[in-house]
C-alpha cells in the first residue's frame, strides 16, 4: 500500500510545477486527499478524488520531465489545479457568459448603454482572471483578446457594429465549448480544450486594429492573472448575495417540508384536539400551522428561478436566425421575472428554442412579402410569461402569416389523418400540426408555416404536465400558449376511491365529472361499456378492472364517471367515490418497482397513508385494446 503512495508523490509535484498560481496550502490539502484515496481500497470509494491519481500517473508517463514552457494539456492543467475550483469556475463562467449575451443583445439596440458595455467587459475580465488563476491559458488568452477589443469600445475607440457583436458572441461560443470540455474532463473523460479558432481570433485582432494599432498596455498589465474576481462580481451589484446549494439537498428539503405540512395537518385535525376544551393547545397548533405554511412557501420558492435566462437564450437564437435568413426581426420579451420551478425551466429550453425557430423560419414572411401585405417589414417575434390562475402561461408569438386552417385540412386529408367528409373547428385543425408525421420541414413551409417536430414539442410540454394551445389569425400571426404548472414537485389532484383504495388523478387530466343516467349507457358484447354524453360516445374504463381490484358492488349509475383527457384521447374513468381534492408531493415508488403501468408515482395523503398517482394514458393502455380507440363523433 505504501508503494503507490511513494511513487505518486513526486508525480504530483512534477505535474504541479507548470501551473502558475495555486497556493502552497492548496497543494498540501490536495496531497492529503490523494493519499487517502490511494489508501482506500474499498470498491465503494470510487469518488472523484480517486481520479486525479490515475490521471497524474498518465501525466508522468507522458512527460517525465515537465518544463515550465511546453503547452499544457488540459489534463495537466486542471489536474494540477483543484477539481473543485475548476468546477466552480465553469459554473461561474457560465453565469458570466449569460450576462455577456444579455449585455450584447441590449447593446445592439442601445449602443450607447454604458452599463451594458461595462457589464460585458467586466464579465470577460472576470473569466480571464479566473482562467489565469487556474492556469487555463487558452481561455485566458482568448478572453484577453476580446477584453482588449471591448475596452476599445468602452473608451469610444471602436464603434459597436453588428460585426463586432457577432465576433464577441462567437467568442462566447468558444468559451461555452471550452467549459463543456472542462466539465467532461472533470467527469473523468480526457477531452482537449477546443482549439483556438484562428479565423475568429484574426477577426478579433482585425477589429482591435481597425482604428488603432496599439492596444492599451495598461489594461494588459493591470489585469494580472491572479487578480481576484471579487470586485467584478460585487460590481454586478444587482444580484443579491447567494449561496449555492446542491439540488439534491434542495429536493430533499422540499420533500421533508411536504411531510411537515402533512404532519401538522394531521395534528390540527386530530379529533381529540377538537373535543378538548383546552383552547390554548388549539391556539398553539394553529400558530404552528401558520409557520409551517410559511416554511413551505419559502422552500418552494427556493426552487423557483425566473424564466428570464431562458428568454435570453432564445433571444440570442432569434438574432442569429435573423442575420442568417435576412428577415428583420424585433424580438420582444416580457414577464422575464416570472418564476417557475427550475426543473421546468430546464425542460422548457428545447421546446422554446424549437418554437422560436419555427416562428422565424415559417411564421415570419420575408420583408418584401410583408411590405406587400401592408405590414411593417420588421417582423415581431417574442415570448411572454405570466402567472395566470395557478399556472404559468408562456406565449410564443409572431406577427407572421398565421396558420391556414384550410391548407392544414387539405394536408391532413392527404396524409390520411382525417377523413374527407369530417367536420372540424379551426382549433381542431390547428391542433393537427401536433400529430406526428403531419408534415416535414420542407413541405410545411408553403402549407401551414408550421409543423417541424411540433409533435415533439407537444410531448415535451405534456411531460411537464402542461398544455399547449394555438391562437392564430390568417395573415396576422400565431400565438402558442404553453400552460405549465408552477412546479413539478407538487401536483394538484382529485382523490378518488376505487375498490377500497385511494388514487390521485391529476386535475389537468380531468375534463368533467358526472353521474350517468341509465339511458346514456350502452355496451357491446355485454362488457365493453360506453357512455354517451352530449355528442360524444366515450369508452368506459373501470379502474378496478385495469388494476385487478375487487370489483365495486354498485352499478355504473351509482358510480362517478370522470371524463379523463390524455394527449390523444378522452375516456370515462369509473370510480366509486370522490374523496377530495388535494395538492400532493409527488414521490417515486422506488427502484424496486420501476415503472408501474398506469401509475405515475405515489403521494402521502392527509392521513399519512400512501395513495398512488394515476397516469391516465397508462391506465388507458394497461389493457384492452378492444375499447374504442377514439371518441366517435355522432
Amino acid at each position: 500500500m505504501n508503494k503507490p503512495t511513494a511513487k505518486l508523490r513526486p508525480t504530483k509535484n512534477s505535474s504541479r510545477k507548470p501551473v502558475s498560481v495555486p497556493s502552497e496550502k492548496k497543494a498540501k490539502e490536495e496531497a492529503v486527499t490523494q493519499v487517502e484515496s490511494i489508501n482506500n481500497e474499498f470498491p465503494l470509494s470510487d469518488s472523484p478524488e480517486s481520479e486525479p491519481v490515475e490521471a497524474n500517473k498518465e501525466t508522468l508517463n507522458a512527460e517525465p520531465q515537465t518544463l515550465p514552457t511546453p503547452p499544457l494539456s488540459i489534463a495537466q492543467t486542471y489536474l494540477g489545479g483543484d477539481l473543485d475550483l475548476v468546477a466552480d469556475f465553469t459554473i461561474e463562467a457560465r453565469e458570466h457568459i449569460a450576462s455577456i449575451e444579455k449585455g450584447l443583445l441590449t447593446l445592439e439596440h442601445h449602443p450607447d448603454d454604458k452599463d451594458a458595455i461595462h457589464s460585458v467587459f467586466r464579465a470577460f475580465h472576470s473569466i480571464k482572471g479566473l482562467a489565469g488563476f487556474l492556469g487555463l491559458d487558452q481561455i485566458q488568452a482568448r478572453t484577453h483578446e476580446v477584453e482588449t477589443l471591448l475596452d476599445g469600445v468602452r473608451n469610444g475607440k471602436h464603434s459597436l457594429s453588428s460585426t463586432l457583436v457577432d465576433v464577441v458572441l462567437h467568442s462566447t461560443d468558444y468559451l461555452s465549448r471550452s467549459l463543456r470540455a472542462l466539465d467532461q474532463s472533470i467527469g473523468g473523460e480526457q477531452v482537449p480544450l477546443p482549439a483556438l479558432d484562428i479565423v475568429l481570433l484574426g477577426r478579433v485582432r482585425d477589429l482591435q486594429q481597425g482604428k488603432i494599432t496599439d492596444t492599451p498596455a495598461s489594461l494588459t498589465g493591470g489585469s494580472g492573472a491572479s487578480s481576484p474576481p471579487a470586485d467584478a462580481s460585487r460590481a454586478r451589484g444587482v444580484e443579491a448575495s447567494r449561496v449555492k446549494v446542491d439540488t439534491h439537498k434542495l429536493d430533499a428539503l422540499v420533500e421533508m417540508v411536504g411531510e411537515l405540512v402533512v404532519a401538522q395537518s394531521l395534528l390540527r385535525h386530530d379529533e381529540r384536539l377538537k373535543h378538548d376544551a383546552n383552547a390554548i393547545i388549539a391556539h398553539k397548533v394553529s400558530h404552528m400551522a401558520r409557520i409551517t405554511s410559511e416554511v413551505q412557501q419559502i422552500t418552494m420558492s427556493m426552487r423557483m428561478v425566473p424564466i428570464g435566462q431562458l428568454f435570453q437564450k432564445t433571444a440570442r437564437l432569434a438574432r442569429d436566425l435573423s442575420r442568417k435568413s435576412g428577415k428583420s426581426v424585433d424580438f420582444q420579451t416580457s414577464g422575464e421575472d416570472t418564476e417557475l420551478d427550475r426543473n421546468i425551466v430546464e425542460e422548457l429550453a428545447d421546446p422554446l428554442v424549437h418554437m422560436i425557430r419555427n416562428s422565424m423560419d415559417h411564421g415570419l414572411e420575408i420583408p418584401a412579402e410583408r411590405l406587400k401585405s401592408g405590414k411593417n417589414p420588421t417582423g415581431k417575434v417574442g415570448l411572454r410569461a405570466a402567472h395566470q390562475a395557478g399556472v404559468i402561461v408562456v406565449e410564443v408569438f409572431d406577427d407572421g402569416r398565421g396558420l391556414d386552417a384550410q391548407k392544414i385540412r387539405a394536408r391532413a386529408i392527404e396524409r390520411g389523418i382525417i377523413s374527407e367528409g369530417s367536420e372540424h373547428t379551426e382549433e381542431e385543425l390547428y391542433n393537427l400540426i401536433f400529430v406526428p408525421g403531419f408534415s416535414t420541414a420542407s413541405e410545411v413551409t408553403d402549407v401551414s408555416g408550421r409543423g417541424v417536430g411540433m409533435d415533439v414539442v407537444k410531448r415535451h410540454i405534456e411531460r411537464l404536465r402542461g398544455r399547449i394551445e394555438i391562437r392564430s389569425t390568417l395573415g396576422q400571426g400565431t400565438t402558442f400558449l404553453l400552460k405549465l404548472p408552477l412546479t413539478l414537485a407538487i401536483i394538484d389532484g382529485l382523490i378518488v376511491g376505487v375498490g377500497g383504495q385511494r388514487y390521485i388523478l391529476p386535475i389537468v387530466a380531468v375534463k368533467e365529472m358526472f353521474r350517468p343516467s341509465r339511458d346514456s349507457l350502452t355496451s357491446i358484447e355485454g362488457t365493453k361499456e360506453m357512455v354517451r354524453l352530449r355528442d360524444l360516445v366515450l369508452p368506459v374504463v373501470r379502474l378496478s378492472e385495469r388494476f385487478n381490484l375487487a370489483p365495486s358492488s354498485h352499478g355504473l349509475e351509482e358510480s362517478l364517471l370522470i371524463i379523463t383527457e390524455t394527449e390523444s384521447r378522452q375516456f370515462c374513468l369509473v370510480v366509486d367515490e370522490l374523496v377530495g381534492r388535494q395538492e400532493v408531493v409527488i414521490k417515486s415508488l422506488g427502484e424496486l418497482f420501476g415503472n408501474v403501468p398506469g401509475v405515475a408515482g405515489g403521494a402521502i395523503l392527509g392521513d399519512g397513508q400512501v395513495g398512488l398517482i394515476l397516469d391516465p394514458a397508462g391506465v388507458f393502455e394497461t389493457q384492452a385494446r378492444e375499447v374504442l380507440e377514439e371518441p366517435v363523433l355522432v
Binding site: 383504495q501 385511494r502 414521490k587 397513508q609 400512501v610
Partner: protein
Amino acid sequence: MTVSPSISPSRSNTLFERAGKYLTFELGNEVYGLPVLRVREVIGKQAAAKIPHAPEYVKGVINLRGKVIPIIDLRMKFGLEQVEQTDRTCIIVVQLNVRKSAILAGAVVDRVSEVVTIAAADIDDTPDFGDGTNLPYVLGIAKTKDGVRILVDPDVLFEVAQLMQMQAATQSQGDREGDE
C-alpha cells in the same frame, strides 16, 4: 468475528459472512433471522397502497417518514396460511442492495423476537431435502439453545431481481389481456 459494517453492496451472496448478529422473527412456529446490520427499524403494521399487477405477496407501498417503501407479506410469500393480524404483527424495515444503491423495504411478520449473536460454528448449510427443494434466500441454519433459526438473505428474500422484472412482466401481461 462479527459481520463487518463495511460489507460492500457489490458482494455476492456466496461471500456473505454468515456469522454475526441476527434479528429473529416468527412466522407461525418457524423462527427466522435477518442480519441485524441490514435491519433499519421495526414499525407497527399499517395499511398499504396496493400496486397494480404486483405479485400477491407484495402488499403495496407505505409511508415511512416521507419515504414511499414497498412491503411484502412473508406468510403469503412462503405460502403459509393467512392468520388474523395481532398486536404483535409488525413490519421489519430492511435495507436492500439494489445495483449499487441501498433501498428500504418492509416485511410483514407475526412478531419480532430478539437479537442473537450466532457463531460460525453453529451455522449449518441448508439440508438437502432430496426433492429438488431450492431455497436460495436461506443463508444457513443456526443451532441455538432455544431451537433452530433460519437465517435469510434479505436481498434474495425480497427477490430484488424478480421485482425489478415485474415491470416487463406486467407489460406483457397487459399485452396478452389486450389480445384476448
